[in-house]
């Protein structure tokens, strides 16, 4: 059972973060508590309504969850979204553990209702991607229906916005007083040396202090509400302190605010922070330990620094993530690569974010630019105007609906010659199989991508099955001709379902396709399948002949079309059609 059914609340996967923000905001201005969650870069997309939401305020609790990604484990940058709070006049809370994330969310609702103002809950990778014990409390019956009361504050024409701005400044000042008393900030220990730890940094500091066998000799200031900075708490906590070290993930956000506070209040405190910890990447116990030792003038080495005998890690082959066995993108990239080689095309592939970003890796090397969701199509518009290369863009279905439609319209109206390949696996695969508007899930309407493209007026629109490599290459040929002749975009929709989705469906029905095998008598050891097609299930065996690992093969049969001598076949006969239909 899903949480929404359990609680009787409304939940949706919105088409992008800006829309998601607006949906949740609408509830909050109609007196219904709401939450909108996104990764850090999502807040860039939603930043326009974010700024305005502070001006209008809300009627009921409105919590904006921003999941930041220090170290960029799965992101294009490691922006620190606490600055959005400062920028937009919205308070920022930062939990120190998964359990506190729950408590702080509850607190955020109370706070947001009290001040009739949005709240940003900033979490980082180690909160988002950690499972830990969380005690659940009672959940009351939620209020899901509200009333929108018309007020000038929601109409941000200049006269209203100016009035709102005055109120906004006054609200932030009131919040400082309240947050200085918040139970989520606390001071432990005492002494002239202090550490301020915000969010999860608190856990790293606790562990490092324990390793250093230090406890109450240091003043430890835990901050879980960082903007507006709890001024009165800090003034009090720092009154006997000579030196303070600020420990936080990513940018010196708290550090900057504390520097401001110390200078404003004329406190006599030396401030350390990023100069000891370094700027980039997430914190680790080792990193905090080193900074603390330096700050406290203690000379100690950690066990891990004992230097192992031989650095075997450096000798091991890298293992970048790969497209899954059965992934429809593999034959598609293979076809594009072969097409480019055969036609001696000097391609620039404007790429995008999704599983297909993996096309950057060898052997395909078909993602030359990846900057942000929807960015590939937009950049291709400009490239087509200034460079001589053939421009091809790749964009997934979810990303197309997220931010790909405006740049495609732009390409059409401004006549930008480019081949646009829309990779429609009918799901948002990379982030965990959320529905995309092209998913045929029950309870949702769906949008066939070609209808959108045709609706724009684009004349070249073809839908292909990426497993059919020969047809893909033919369609690429005619698309190239069209682009060259008419100087306008040509769109190819490559449609086949994500292999993981298909495997899951087959599993539920207790259906399996047999794995495939290579006939060693036929195999000529050309290496096309393992070097160029590069399915993880196909490996070189003796004398360069191919072998299929039955543990990894999912029986998709895509490699059959790659083999020039027909050496690949199912390990046992099966009713192909009964399985095949789940792929579409």
């Amino acid at each position: 059972m899903q949480v929404r059914d359990l609680l009787g609340i409304y939940v949706e996967w919105s088409v992008n973060e800006k829309v998601a923000f607006e949906v949740a905001y609408a509830a909050a201005i109609s007196g219904v508590r709401s939450l909108v969650a996104m990764k850090h870069v999502g807040l860039n997309v939603a930043s326009d309504p974010l700024m305005s939401s502070a001006y209008t305020g809300v009627k009921e609790g409105f919590v904006i969850v921003s999941a930041d990604d220090p170290s960029m484990w799965s992101s294009q940058n490691e922006q620190d979204n606490r600055f959005y709070g400062l920028h937009a006049y919205i308070p920022v809370f930062e939990p120190s553990s998964p359990a506190e994330a729950k408590e702080l969310t509850k607190y955020s609702y109370g706070f947001s209702s009290q001040f009739k103002h949005p709240v940003i809950l900033r979490i980082t990778t180690r909160i988002s991607h950690t499972r830990a014990v969380v005690d659940l409390g009672e959940v009351g019956k939620p209020k899901t229906k509200g009333v929108f009361i018309k007020e000038p504050r929601y109409v941000l024409i200049p006269t209203n916005a100016r009035r709102n701005k005055l109120e906004l400044v006054e609200k932030i000042n009131r919040m400082v007083k309240e947050l200085s008393k918040s139970p989520f900030n606390k001071v432990e220990g005492s002494g002239g040396l202090a550490v301020i730890a915000s969010g999860i940094a608190y856990l790293y500091v606790k562990e490092a202090l324990e390793k250093l066998k230090l406890g109450s000799e240091v003043t430890l200031i835990k901050l879980s509400t960082v903007y507006p900075i709890p001024k009165y708490l800090l003034i009090d906590a720092l009154k006997d302190v000579k030196k303070v070290l600020v420990v936080e993930e990513v940018d010196p956000f708290v550090e900057i605010l504390v520097r401001g506070l110390v200078s404003e209040e004329g406190l006599n405190v030396e401030i350390y922070g990023k100069n000891y910890l370094g700027y980039p990447f997430e914190l680790t116990v080792e990193r905090v330990y080193k900074a603390l030792s330096r700050f406290l003038n203690i000379d100690t080495a950690l066990r891990s620094e004992e230097g192992s005998k031989r650095d075997l890690r450096a000798e091991l082959p890298q293992r970048p993530p790969t497209l899954c066995p059965g992934c429809p993108y593999r034959p598609l990239f293979y076809a594009v690569k072969m097409f480019a080689i055969r036609n001696k095309l000097n391609l620039v592939a404007a790429g995008d974010i999704g599983c297909y970003s993996l096309g950057y890796n060898p052997p395909f090397n078909l993602q030359d630019i990846i900057i942000e969701m929807g960015g590939g199509l937009g950049v291709a518009n400009g490239l087509a105007k200034v460079v001589e290369n053939t421009i091809i863009t790749f964009i997934g279905d979810s990303t197309f609906f997220h931010a790909g439609i405006p740049p495609l319209i732009n390409a059409f109206v401004n006549r930008s010659p480019q081949i646009v390949v829309i990779l429609d696996n009918e799901v948002t695969a990379m982030t965990g199989h959320q529905p995309s508007p092209s998913s045929r899930f029950k309870d949702r309407a769906y949008v066939p991508i070609e209808n959108v493209v045709k609706g724009i007026g684009i004349r070249f629109v073809k839908v292909v099955d990426p497993f059919n490599i020969r047809r893909v290459m033919n369609v690429l040929s005619s698309a190239l001709e069209h682009v060259r002749k008419y100087k306008e975009p040509a769109v190819i929709v490559a449609r086949r379902r994500c292999a993981l989705e298909v495997m899951r469906d087959l599993g539920r029905l207790s259906l399996t396709a047999p794995s495939y095998i290579i006939d060693p008598h036929k195999c000529i050891a050309c290496g096309l399948c393992y070097n160029w097609f590069s399915c993880p299930a196909i490996v070189p065996g003796s004398e360069g002949k191919a072998l299929i690992d039955p543990e990894l093969c999912v029986g998709c049969g895509a490699c059959v079309n790659v083999c020039p001598v027909d050496a690949i076949k199912p390990s046992k006969p099966y009713d192909k059609e009964s399985i095949e239909k789940y792929w579409f």
């Binding site: 484990w73 799965s74 998964p98 180690r126 991607h129 950690t130 499972r131 830990a132 014990v133 999860i200 856990l203 790293y204 606790k206 562990e207 324990e210 680790t284 116990v285 080792e286 330990y289 950690l302 066990r303 891990s304 004992e306 192992s308 005998k309 031989r310 075997l312 890690r313 000798e315 091991l316 082959p317 890298q318 293992r319 970048p320 993530p321 790969t322 497209l323 899954c324 599983c355 890796n361 060898p362 052997p363 990379m430 982030t431 965990g432 599993g507 207790s510 070097n531 590069s534 399915c535 993880p536 490996v539 690992d549 039955p550 543990e551 990894l552």
Partner: protein
């Protein structure tokens, strides 16, 4: 004291499920122990190198295990076991699946199993090779190899008094259905017996917690 476990392998081998089940088993068996399970890579790491950090103890702070402090490593793949060697504490218990997955578009040569094992053994005298993949494939359930490692650590945590093995079995029954569920239990038992036969109790008793 905190007991630190790293789980390593290749994305798609079922590491996250394995780690989640370890965490759930601890919580279900023992109410006054804290456990945290931190994955360094999300779903975007299919086919890539993955490490999960599991920490259990009365009080657990940082979600990430400092290098040199893992007491147990469960490895579903040998190259990955070697890659994360520097997480191991001296004489950590290492259970490694007898399986090498060749990275795609490999440049250079692949180290042999012997080389990888001797690298592991240079760090610990408690390295145990488990035929998890082979056993799973024989049961026609290649994706259940992870359950053998659950059985392996299940035995160790049972000896330590951290988990109740029957509770773990109940939890496993909630995973998969039909044939897969049966294979899961068989693999779990295989790993459990392997640990019982291979790992001496005095080694287990030396583990922290």
């Amino acid at each position: 004291m905190v007991l630190n476990v790293v789980v390593v392998g290749v994305g798609g081998q079922g590491l996250l499920l394995l780690s989640r089940l370890i965490g759930e088993s601890v919580i279900a068996s023992n109410t006054d122990i804290n456990v945290s399970v931190a994955e360094t890579h999300g779903l975007s790491q299919r086919g890539g190198s993955v490490i999960v950090h599991i920490r259990m103890g009365k009080e657990v702070f940082a979600p990430l295990i400092p290098r040199g402090e893992a007491n147990i490593m469960l490895a579903l793949e040998m190259l990955e076991a070697a890659r994360y060697l520097d997480y191991l504490s001296r004489n950590a218990i290492v259970a490694v699946n007898d399986k090498v997955i060749r990275p795609i578009a490999l440049k250079g040569s692949l180290p042999s199993k012997e080389e990888l094992l001797s690298a592991l053994k240079s760090k610990s005298s408690n390295v145990y090779v488990i035929k998890a993949s082979e056993t799973a494939l024989a049961l026609n359930a290649p994706l259940s190899a992870n359950m053998a490692l659950l059985g392996f650590i299940g035995y160790i945590l049972e000896v330590k008094g951290i988990i109740d093995i029957n509770m773990v079995k109940e939890i496993i029954k909630g995973v998969g259905r039909g044939r897969v569920r049966e294979a899961n239990l068989k693999l779990f038992n295989y790993g459990y017996s392997a640990a019982r036969n291979l790992v001496r109790d005095d080694i287990i008793n030396k583990l922290p917690y």
